[in-house]
Each structure stands twice: as structure tokens, then as C-alpha cells.
């Protein structure tokens, strides 16, 4: 057979977080714990389909008037409106002034990608391949790939995590913003920063906004955990809403994977806040062109579930309750892990475990200690030391705490 055109295609390395889960699955040790991939788990260590989701899916299944016809290119109208409303607030001036647009997308990733593709084409004149895009260090590792594949050539980092004090490096962050070229794009985590779990305080957000306004920096928010972080939708949306109230035009990539537990239905939304309705209309018309060549129109099932839930006061209340259940369990695991480590006298300080927020915690374990955890203790976490708090259960808390204690005391 003739040499193949693909002979030279190299084998790509597997995505770390998925490889971790694959290794976990193959591990035969009974004590094994998966603190890797970011999906919620119950106290029994099981995935959790939200009761309100089960209910609404049944409603959808029983509704014979529904079919599988194409959604519009920008998605299900009821989903789009409700999704943006959840983020910006019922009384959002931007919504009242009709200057909010929405693009239903495939998960948060899809929303980021559509937003990135649009910015590369249309932000600040045309052709923005050279416009700097700033991503926090660390950040979700896929942020970089999204913007690279969207065509941006100048991806930079901004300071975020202070390793020594295990908290936000606000000075470094603001410094980077002062030095960034005007009109640079900044990817901001709306809440529950992934992977550090460390968010700016409202006061710190105000400082960030002030610099960004003065230097004409574009805010692209990534909101994957609204409600899931604190248990309060409003609290978790505070930063985004503050920026809107300060008059910013911004993009917001929303995911409903975690707060609705709809991971595999790929439910996301890109919210666009503009200066006025006319600008937003033109932006949406160009978003349609981008969507049309990426996936034509988005999948219907997940959007129907979310739209149905958010537009019914009764179902919305049930959903809110389900979200709080998840957030509360995570908060409980945080306090339980911290208290165990402190009781064990594990070297170092552990208040960051409860001060951090959301699904993840940056434990502070170094790569060698992480390797020890995986190889010797069969506890799976990312090399960065990030753990998924909902991988903890009342049954495995003791084992995990003791293992961390061992790792920290035995390995330097």
C-alpha cells in the first residue's frame, strides 16, 4: 500500500484530566479515591442527576407535542433569555435596556470558543490575531487551547496565584493589567476560580474593574459554577453584575454542566453585553455566521431542560434547592478536611481549604507529593495539587487526610 498521508501524524498526548480518570478506573485497589475530574459526586461517591432534572426530563418525555426539529442557529429562545437573566439578574439594567444578546452553545467550552472566534474576527477593528489575550496563571488548561485554535497568536499570562501565601496575588494581577497593551483581552473567572478556588473579594474586583476601564481592557468572563460555588446565584454573579453596572461591554461564557448536572448534554450560553441594542443585533448576526460553520445549530435536549426549569417559579425553586444541596456538601467536605489536617498536626497552614470556594482546592501539594498520593495511596489528583472536593465523602475523609499528612511529612 502506498505511503499514507497520515504517516507523519504524531500521537498526541492524552488530556491529563481524562487520563487520570482512566488510570483511576484501572486501579484495582479498594481504597482508591478519584479527586481528579471536575464533576459533582454524592456522599456515596456517585454521580447525581438532580431531582428537578429527572422531573423535567419526564415532563419532556411525556409531552407528545415536542419533536426533534432544528433549533434556530442561536439556540432555543427561552433558554437563551433565561440563561442570560440568571447571570445578569432579574433587574439588570442591561436587560431592561435591551442590550444583552445570547448564543446557546455546547457547554462553557463552546461558548468560549464562539466568543473567541468572534473576537478574533471583529474586536477592535478586524483581524485580531495579534491582539494579546491574557489568561491567569494557573487557569483551566483548555483556556489556552481555545484561544490558540481560535487564531490568537499572542497569548499571555497574568499573575493570579501566590504560591507562598496560598492566596490571590492581587498586586501581581493589577500590575500585569497596568502593563498590558490597551485593548488586550482578559479571561476572568466569574467565581470559583479553576483550579485555585481563590476569588477576588468584591473590593478587589472593584480595583480590577477600575484598571480595566482606565486601560480599555476587554473582560471575557468564564462562569462555570454559578450557584455551585456559594449556594447563592446572586453572590456568585456579583463580579459580572458589577462590571455591567460599571458600563463595561463584555462577554460571559456560561456553563450549566455543574449547576444543573447536565455535563453530557452540553448546555452553555454566551452572554453578550453591549452598549445598545443595535450593536448587539449586529454582533449576533455575525455570531450566527460563526455558529453556522461550527455546529449549525445547538443540541436541543439540555436547553429544553434548563429553559423549562428556569421559567417555572416552582421548578426554579426546586433547582435552587438542588444546587444548594451540592454547594453545602462541598462546603462540609472543606471544613471536615481542614479540621482533620489540623488535628493531625499536618505541617503547614490549612485555612486555605475552607477559604477557597467551589469544586476545587489547590492543596499546595507539590508534584512529588502528588505522585506519592497516586502511586502509594491510590488517591488520584492533578499534578498541580488540585483536588475535586466533591470526590471526598464521609467514608474517605480520614484516609485522604492521613494520606495528605503522610505525603507532606515524608516527601519534600
Amino acid at each position: 500500500m502506498a505511503a499514507s498521508i497520515f504517516t507523519a501524524v504524531p500521537c498526541a498526548p492524552p488530556v491529563a484530566v481524562f487520563k487520570l480518570t482512566a488510570d483511576f478506573r484501572e486501579d484495582g485497589d479498594a481504597r482508591k479515591v478519584n479527586l481528579g475530574v471536575g464533576a459533582y459526586r454524592t456522599d456515596e461517591g456517585q454521580p447525581w442527576v438532580l431531582p428537578v432534572v429527572k422531573k423535567v426530563e419526564q415532563m419532556i418525555a411525556n409531552d407528545n407535542s415536542l419533536n426533534h426539529e432544528y433549533l434556530p442557529i442561536l439556540g432555543l429562545p427561552a433558554f437563551r433569555a433565561n440563561a442570560s437573566r440568571i447571570a445578569l439578574g432579574d433587574d439588570s439594567p442591561a436587560i431592561k435596556e435591551n442590550r444583552v444578546g445570547s448564543v446557546q452553545s455546547l457547554g462553557g467550552t463552546g461558548a468560549l470558543r464562539i466568543g473567541a472566534e468572534f473576537l478574533r474576527r471583529w474586536y477592535n477593528g478586524n483581524n485580531n490575531t495579534a491582539t494579546p489575550v491574557y489568561i491567569s496563571v494557573p487557569s483551566w488548561e483548555n483556556h489556552n487551547s481555545v484561544f490558540v485554535d481560535a487564531g490568537f497568536k499572542d497569548i499571555r499570562t497574568y499573575h493570579y496565584w501566590d504560591t507562598t501565601k496560598r492566596g490571590l496575588d492581587l498586586k501581581g494581577l493589577l500590575d500585569d493589567m497596568e502593563k498590558a497593551p490597551e485593548f488586550s483581552i482578559f479571561i476572568l473567572h466569574a467565581c470559583a476560580h479553576n483550579p485555585t478556588g481563590t476569588d477576588p473579594t468584591p473590593d478587589q474586583w472593584k480595583q480590577i474593574a477600575a484598571v480595566m476601564k482606565r486601560r480599555f481592557l476587554f473582560p471575557f468572563f468564564d462562569s462555570a459554577y454559578q450557584g455551585f460555588a456559594s449556594g447563592s446565584l446572586d453572590k456568585d454573579a456579583w463580579a459580572v453584575r458589577y462590571f455591567v453596572s460599571e458600563g463595561f461591554e463584555l462577554f460571559l461564557a456560561q456553563s450549566f454542566s455543574k449547576n444543573f448536572g447536565l455535563y453530557n448534554e452540553r448546555v452553555g450560553n454566551l452572554t453578550v453585553v453591549g452598549k445598545d441594542a443595535d450593536n448587539v443585533q449586529r454582533v449576533l448576526s455575525q455570531m450566527e455566521k460563526i455558529v453556522r460553520t461550527t455546529w449549525s445549530n445547538p443540541p436541543s435536549q439540555g436547553a429544553r431542560i434548563v429553559a423549562t426549569t428556569l421559567s417555572s417559579p416552582q421548578l426554579f425553586a426546586e433547582w435552587y434547592d438542588n444546587v444548594k444541596t451540592m454547594a453545602d456538601r462541598v462546603l462540609l467536605m472543606r471544613s471536615e478536611l481542614r479540621s482533620r489536617l489540623e488535628s493531625l498536626g499536618t505541617p503547614g497552614t490549612w485555612n486555605h481549604i475552607t477559604e477557597q470556594i467551589g469544586m476545587f482546592s489547590f492543596t499546595g501539594l507539590n508534584p512529588k507529593q502528588v505522585e506519592y498520593m497516586i502511586k502509594e495511596k491510590h488517591i488520584y489528583l492533578l499534578a498541580s495539587g488540585r483536588i475535586n472536593m466533591s470526590g471526598l465523602t464521609t467514608k474517605n475523609l480520614d484516609y485522604v487526610a492521613k494520606s495528605i499528612h503522610e505525603a507532606v511529612t515524608k516527601i519534600q
Binding site: 498521508i5 498526541a12 498526548p13 432544528y70 463552546g110 452540553r266 460553520t293
Partner: protein
Amino acid sequence: SSWWSHVEMGPPDPILGVTEAFKRDTNSKKMNLGVGAYRDDNGKPYVLNCVRKAEAMMASKKMDKEYLPIAGLADFTRASAELALGENSEAFKSGRYVTVQGISGTGSLRIGANFLQRFFKSSRDVYLPKPSWGNHTPIFRDAGLQLQAYRYYDPKTCSLDFSGAMDDISKIPEKSIILLHACAHNPTGVDPRQEQWKELAAVVKKRNLLVYFDMAYQGFASGDINRDAWAVRYFIEQGINVLLSQSYAKNMGLYGERAGAFTVICSDAEEAKRVESQLKILIRPMYSNPPLNGARIASIILNTPDLRKEWLVEVKGMADRIISMRTQLVSNLKKEGSSHNWQHITDQIGMFCFTGLKPEQVERLTKEFSIYMTKDGRISVAGVTSGNVGYLAHAIHQVTK
């Protein structure tokens, strides 16, 4: 001032424009022949029974909502490959292929386009038939490739310009990319005969072209899934390692669920693994992993013998209704007294028909009879019913006599 002041209004979608105008029309006899979705004989969307049954099975299983792998649902991708290639295919049995789940046909095409842009260094040129589906051009362009064309449709005969196609294809620079519609060419409905496919395969092999098949209508075209996949399978048997995009939007009526697949036929299983690893690297920054619902429905249907049988009957039913409407349209035109040759209406296959009507005639159809179609004279036969085919024939006769 806004960041977006300079953003131009995107041009309106021609097909959506047709539907918008249709919706506004108050004429009770109005017909929407722009719609690219199947309608039953009452003009209604049709949810297949096998789909309903698969959904009931899913509801009873109480599955979780965990992320799919990046490459999608394995049962689905394997069944998709088998459906396209045939269970006896050497390529399928040897495992020298990779199939990843894509977002219906568009998403699958785009994955392939992105993959070619990144790894196919021999050429930036994709050759499309003239005409082709309107979205092919922007998909490949957005992926960073360039578009060229080869002759395909002969407007004088409303059929295949085979000699023109062979002539053009024989001159395509070696190692360029050529896109072929596997069956039910969109928008013309004009497909090569098997003898013609054989000649196409020979010239494509001679020119050492990279073949990319778009198969959006397997089963939906002739009613026979094997017959509709014949060209794809023949090419592979001839040693042509094709790329293939599949859609389940039409043949399973799963439009809004976005079920599709992208396949690369490789030299061997090892190469397939390398290609798969790179496809995952492309997919992750697009949408991370694909949506479950449509793929699960399709997988249950394909992998459950009873449901698969039922599906084959239903997809044949849809194809047969379309074929019957074509036949009725032609016989009604004859009854109206039309002297034109309308044979192309029954010669063409699939959802669409290039009527041969000119823009002025199309405009008259819309203005005088409230019959809506695209300016190129394309009709969606799926929008024709036994209740309105007489009216349609009458109207066409009026504007062409």
C-alpha cells in the same frame, strides 16, 4: 462608543428568509418548499417510532449525565462506522479506521476540515461540485482552506454533467482534496450512476486526490442503506482511504439532537490511533465533548436488532413517500397539459429537486401562488403532500407554459 460599532450586519440567510416570508403569508394554500426537513403526508414533522421506543428505553434506564469521552459514545461511533462501511468491510473488520462523534453533519465536516488544515500539508484546496450545499464553502473557509470547483450539474438537462466533471477532475492538481456527496446530492438531487462512480473512482485514484465524502442521507435517498452507501464502500474497496462525514438528522429525524460522525480510513489500526489522538486535540477546544442524547438514541436503534429493523422500514417509508411525490408531481404536470420534459424530477433523488425553474418563474410562484422555494429553483420534495401536489403542478404549469 462601543467596541462593535464597526461590526457589519451579517447578510440574511437566504433560506431562512424564505421561511420568514412563508410564515407571514396568509394564503391558506401556501406551501413551504424551502424546508430542509422531512414532513409527513400531512405536512407535519415526523418523529420516528423507533426513536420514540429508544427514548422510552433511555427513560427507563435512569442513566447518569456524566461527560462522554471527547471522541463520543463508543457504541455509537462503532455502529456508525459499521453502518457506513458495511459489516463485511475489510477496513471495518481490521480496525483501520477512526470514527469520532460529531455535531451532526456540520460538526463532523468541520472536524475533518480542521484536521486537514492542520495535518494535510500537500494542499490547501478543497474541490466542491458545482453547485454544492451552501454551507460547505464557509465551513472549509473558516477552517483555513481554499475552495475550488468542478463541474457537476448541467442546467440544460437538469442532470449530471458527467463529461464536464470527469474533464475537470482529471485536471485537479495531485494531492488536492475533493469533496463528493455520497448520495442524494444537495441541492440538485443528481447522483452519478454506479458505472459513473466507478469512473470517478478511477480518475480520483489516478490524480492521487484525497477524497472527502459527505453522507447526510444514507437510507433516505433510495430507501436502502446499502445502496446509498455503495459509492463510499466502492471507493474504499478500490484502496482509496476516504474521509467521511455522516449525519443522522434526516435518516433518523434527529435534527435538533445533532447526531453525526466523522471517519478517517487509515492504513492500519496504529495509524488510526494516532489520528484519533489528534482529532481529540482538535475537539477539546471546540466544545470539549459531544452531546449525549442524539447519539444515544441512534446507538440504541443501530444496536438493538428489532429497533434497527424497524428503523430500516421507517427510513424506507420516508424515502418512498418522497419518491411517490416526485412521481405524482410529474404525472400531475402531464395532466395539466405541460409539454416540458419533467423527467429530471423523477430521475433526481433525495430530499431536494432542482426543478430547472428560472428566478422570474420562482418569483411568480411565490407572488401568485404563495409557493415558497429558493431562487435557484430548488424545492424540498419533503414539503410536498398528496394534498398539495396537484396545486403545485398547476402552479408550475402556469408559470412555465
